[in-house]
């Protein structure tokens, strides 16, 4: 580690730096907080002007998100008797009854399957490919690496129509497998390049030591290289998951029923029974959680990943 001379910041400098960071954090977190707050508003509070910062929290948005409802005549409603559950009570205020669950749960599950499935596949294939590129004499290595990168030189959506036609021919439209393969294909170049960088930084002597200690090349890879590359694998996984999780355009184009993910589903809530902003906000809030949890779990690795190389002895 090279010594860099750093003067200790004064109390005033720390104070200024802290203030700037906090203001920046507040600005960036504002939309997020607004979404989360809107999820707990009633529909009328959500669109009131001036906007309500202080409001009576309500779970109406969440109830609407997870249910389908229909309006019934007052006498029919009276015949049903008193509502038995808290969510029935919320719905009855609007002369409506719950007729069944919404499709949000299924769409959310699709997102989980497709997002994590493609992330796993991208990182798995990426690690193997990166290891090969990093360690073996691959003919035309540089050209192949450039080719891998070149798949990201145009926006993926530019090839939407060919992919749409191909998928229809192959029967991959609106399937989980199709979406996993698509997101893996898009993420793979990123994952190969990122991971190659990380694996390049692992001294080859570690594997050679393992080879001499009596292990096979594969054992050396699993027992010595993978633990060393954990940081890189974790940060690559986060990037891949964020892309696959949030992807909207292909999901709209290629999925409609069985394999539809949450991002194209959430906007459709608006169309059913008035602009139900709290339900949309509730859907978005819940949708944020898995990526946030995943990122927080791997945060330690992510930070080390970003500063990789700078702190090696």
């Amino acid at each position: 580690m090279s010594a860099v001379s750093v003067t200790v910041p004064s109390r005033r400098q720390k104070w200024i730096a802290g203030t700037v960071v906090i203001i920046y954090a507040l600005v960036t977190i504002m939309p997020l907080l607004w979404i989360i707050a809107t999820g707990f508003k009633t529909p009328s509070d959500a669109i009131s002007y001036p906007p309500k910062v202080i409001f009576q929290p309500s779970l109406e948005g969440y109830v609407n998100l997870f249910t389908t409802r229909s309006r019934v005549a007052p006498d029919t409603l009276a015949a049903l008797g008193e509502p038995t559950t808290w969510y029935d009570r919320i719905v009855r205020q609007y002369d409506m009854v719950i007729t069944g669950p919404s499709r949000y749960g299924a769409r959310f599950l699709n997102s989980v399957i497709i997002g994590f499935g493609s992330t796993f596949l991208s990182v798995f294939l990426g690690t193997i490919a990166a290891y090969a590129f990093s360690r073996f004499k691959v003919p035309l290595k540089d050209d192949l690496m450039f080719f891998v990168l070149s798949t990201r030189m145009m926006p993926p959506i530019a090839v939407a129509i060919p992919i749409f036609l191909m998928y229809r021919q192959l029967g991959l439209s609106d399937t989980h497998l199709g979406m996993i393969l698509l997101y893996t294909a898009v993420n793979l170049s990123l994952s190969v390049w990122l991971l190659k960088g990380f694996i390049d930084e692992i001294p080859v002597e570690y594997e050679e030591a393992a080879l001499i200690d009596g292990y096979t090349r594969f054992q050396a890879f699993v027992k010595v290289v993978l633990p060393q590359a954990a940081t890189g694998i974790a940060s690559t996984a986060i990037f891949c998951l964020i892309f696959a999780w949030n992807e909207y355009a292909f999901a709209v184009l290629l999925t409609s029923g069985i394999a539809q993910t949450a991002p194209p589903f959430i906007p459709t809530i608006i169309g059913t029974g008035g602009k139900d902003w709290p339900a949309v906000a509730a859907g978005a809030t819940l949708f944020l959680l898995p990526v946030m949890v995943f990122t927080i779990l791997l945060r330690r690795h992510l930070l080390r990943g970003i500063t990789f190389g700078a702190v090696r002895k």
């Binding site: 050679e208 080879l211 001499i212 002895k313």
Partner: protein, 365 residues
């Protein structure tokens, strides 16, 4: 423990030949040095013996078994890397026991063996520490521990002291040599430091540009270099090379440097044209009656000795003299050479001419 025979070993990386046709034998229990400047092929040779590189051609025998195309894991060797290559995600104990675990040794036996090795190296108190926080010397000891724990046929070491600071190197060099003497294991040690090679080795191979220049004991190599490269690479300051033109033949026991006749060991070979007289600095003595003259250009005081630089008709020359000898810069004096210790080289090929004195050394070189 094993004898290692290297026969016509060659390694090409594309158009570049890293090692060409090396042949030498390492006897059982020898501390063997592979010495040469960087890029000379010494590390490639070592890696081929280890099985980390496969040779382009040639044979490697470990204990009579030809292993040149076998993977490293099947060769029963231990390797100490320059940067130690301790597994960073394991503690000291796990690092040392790793080679044993691969052999499927029972846990209790592994523990016992690791404790034994730790005691030899004096690192018992470090066993449960992570390797990250260890000092250079302790890392070195752990790396040695990982090597000796499995009782391999031989140890291969790639500049193991290169990553240590000067003060510590000396101590570690002694420890290494003591460890070798105690275990008696065949050891091949790569270094670019000629002092290290002379100090520790039983035998030395000097390599340059992928070619073995000379092979022998430190003293033979120092006294009777086979080539001008060895003469210049070994010794500090190196052997003086006095260039002149002339013709020599078998039986001749003196050469003419200008007008001065200089006695040399009787030759058994002949050569003419460009010749080089090789003189070790300690074999130069100021003697006013000597016909060969030199002018003092500089002196370096080194405590018990001093290095005196002369300007002679055949180029610069350095002498190692006792500090008590008075020398004044600018004066001219006669120079006498120790006749029994001189080497004569063919100036164009760089090879030493065989004489009465070096015949025994050059025969197997």
């Amino acid at each position: 423990m094993a004898q290692i025979i290297i026969r016509n070993l060659r390694k090409d990386f594309g158009a570049f030949t890293a090692v060409q046709s090396s042949t030498f034998t390492i006897e059982d229990g020898e501390f063997f040095m592979l010495l040469g400047p960087s890029g000379c092929g010494k590390t490639t040779t070592l890696r081929m013996i280890a099985g980390l590189e496969l040779p382009s051609s040639g044979e490697i025998f470990i204990d009579g078994e030809e292993v040149s195309q076998k993977p490293a894991s099947q060769r029963d060797i231990a390797f100490v890397f320059q940067m130690f290559a301790l597994y960073p995600h394991m503690n000291v104990r796990r690092n040392i026991s790793y080679p044993l675990i691969s052999q499927g040794m029972p846990r209790a036996q592994v523990r016992e063996k690791v404790a034994e090795v730790a005691a030899i190296l004096g690192i018992e108190d470090l066993l449960d520490r992570p390797v990250g926080g260890l000092s250079g010397g302790d890392r070195q000891r752990v790396a040695l521990g990982r090597a000796i724990v499995r009782d391999p046929a031989c140890f291969l070491m790639d500049e193991p002291l290169g990553a240590l600071d000067a003060e510590f190197r000396e101590r570690m060099a002694e420890e290494l040599r003591a460890l070798h003497d105690r275990m008696g294991a065949t050891t091949i040690y790569v270094t670019h430091d000629q002092l290290e090679a002379m100090q520790m080795g039983d035998k030395i191979v000097v390599m340059n540009h992928g070619v073995v220049e000379q092979f022998g004991t430190p003293q033979d190599i120092y006294d009777w270099p086979a080539t001008l490269f060895v003469a210049n690479f070994i010794g500090s300051p190196p052997m003086n090379a006095l260039r002149f033109e002339g013709a020599v033949g078998p039986g001749q026991d003196s050469v003419m440097l200008g007008d001065a006749a200089v006695a040399i060991p009787a030759l058994r070979a002949q050569a003419n044209g460009a010749l080089v007289l090789g003189v070790r600095p300690e074999h130069v003595h100021p003697d006013d009656s000597a016909p060969y003259r030199g002018r003092v250009t500089a002196t370096e005081y080194l405590g018990t000795t001093q290095i005196v630089s002369f300007d002679t008709p055949n180029g610069p020359l350095k002498a190692r003299l006792p500090s008590s000898v008075p020398v004044a810069v600018g004066t001219t004096t006669g120079l006498r050479f120790d006749a029994r210790k001189l080497s004569l080289f063919d100036g164009s090929s760089g090879h030493a001419l065989v004489s009465e004195a070096n015949a025994g050394v050059l025969q197997h070189g």
